[in-house]
């Protein structure tokens, strides 16, 4: 069993030998579906080398690396983080559509940036430190 962190979520998944997992768990974690032509999402398919697919299992570390995203693990390899690929981040920002996000306020109420469509938004960060 491993804990896998994606940029926005956290999953507990049955894994072996790193990030080998069932195709259904791989889909839950990555949003990509195993098909004969590779790992697919909407119209896009990423061909997978034979070494990264065994029957209904996928090596998500190999897949994510192929997507260009960073994969890091804790020393005991029980917690993993899959990061967004730099190409994906740059392409989104260069499209100039403000990346959407949902964050809580101090009372735990979730707020989503796109709820403010129709208004100008001054999005600013601060910190106590």
């Amino acid at each position: 069993m491993a804990t896998i962190l994606t940029p926005t979520d956290q999953f507990d998944v049955a894994t072996r030998d790193g990030l080998w997992m069932s195709a259904s768990d791989a889909e839950r974690v990555t949003g990509w579906t195993l098909k004969p032509e590779g790992m697919c999402r909407a119209e896009a398919c990423v061909p997978m080398p034979a070494s990264a697919v065994k029957r209904t299992e996928v090596d998500v570390e190999a897949f994510w690396t192929k997507l260009g995203g960073p994969v890091v693990a804790s020393e005991a390899r029980d917690v993993w983080a899959l990061g967004a690929s730099p190409d994906e981040r740059n392409a989104t920002l260069e499209g100039l559509q403000a990346p959407d996000f949902t964050l809580p306020d101090i009372d735990g109420t979730s707020r989503t940036l796109s709820q403010l469509r129709g208004k100008k938004v001054f999005l600013a960060t601060w910190a106590s430190w």
């Binding site: 804790s74 920002l93 990346p99 964050l103 600013a124 960060t125 601060w126």
Partner: protein, 201 residues
Amino acid sequence: MVVAVAEESRGADHARPWIEQAKSSYWQLVDTEHRLEDLYNLVNVPQAVWIDEDGRIVRPPETAGSTDHFRRMDLKTKTMSAEDQAERLAAREAYLDAVRAWVTTGKHALPASSARMNLPKVTPAIAEARTRFRLGVWLRVNGRAAEGDLQMAEASRLHPESWSLWRQAADLDEVGKASGPEFWKRVQALGDRPYYPAPKL
């Protein structure tokens, strides 16, 4: 609409006193994992992004009203000269005036090509740094501080331009460390480079 986001890995309660004191009518959100910095490629606080009615970025991330005058403060008394204080205040006012002008007239919104040109690029090292930072925060929250600190230290090594990654890690280690002697040593090492690059208004 103002959306103020606290980059605060210690959690909402740590940001609460400031938020309650502000008594704001706008959104005050808490970002424990620095998700916004990942999405918008931010490196310091305060930084701001201007977003128009259609959800388009019209000014990419830039310093939101702060200046480098603090670098000349007397470290013993933690005070700035009257002249520096006045200049600092004037720069902040000028920035806020620009925000107000944008809201009422659209002034200072950049055409798409310049907005795009001024975007900081995400490199593979930055992407890995943010991923390690995310893992580091998780490890710390789950009682594995020493391991988490190692991930955060590696994150700062990979992305030395990010003050947020380093200062948040320092603060998690000990409140106050983010503006302690090690911070000042890092600021001095900037030499002629800015800590808060001035927005090009």
